[in-house]
Amino acid sequence: MNLRYLTERPIDIELLIERVESETRGGVAVFLGTVRNHHGGRDVERLEYSAYGPMAEAECARISAEAERTWGAAVALEHRIGALGIGEVSVAVAAAAPHRDEAFSACRYVIDEMKRRVPIWKREFYADGSVAWVDPTAPGGIHFSTEPTSLIDDR
């Protein structure tokens, strides 16, 4: 599968900015999501992201197109898949528009819709050795995992 939005390698933020900037777009807004060292009172040591690749790619393309159409912006985004350490960038959005209002709005829309619509999942590995799937709809926001080892999904 040819991946445009999902990547197993560290995200090159400069490259994302280069993909959207132009002489007609005076505002560039960038959002970075990074791996937190805590969740729900637990110490997080590392994360693992997996995705339903083909559907995630299609949904990211739709979200970009919506933002570009609504705000006359140029948008670039990438989401990491695989194992990530604390502090690493897991998601990055760059949005460029003629003025800052449109750039901020487009950037905000893309990260919000991405979190809501793109089929990506996160497993957290805690300092106490337990592992959980993050589920924003679950009580406490997690389901403990019965599989303590890596489960990298390469679909």
């Binding site: 992201y49 339903y52 559907m55 998601v91 999942w121 799937w133 589920d135 489960l151």
Partner: protein
Amino acid sequence: MTETAVTVTLTVQFLARYAELVGTDSTEVTLRAPATVGHVLGLLRGRFPGARQLPDRPLCALNLAQVDLGTEISAGDVLALLPPVAGG
């Protein structure tokens, strides 16, 4: 099922936590036509004890497009069962 019954065979994929619950990430199912996504879920709950822990109405994608339980399935379809998303 009689020999003349028309059946549909499709692939079901279990994503992320659902693969862990069910114990596999993919399976093939055959049902008597016409059949819906809801019928597939009922069959899976009978076949895999872990599938009984799936929500009543999980997020479903048929050939990469989100569908509801009443959507009719066709031979060769790929049905993916998706946990609530948690990217970002």
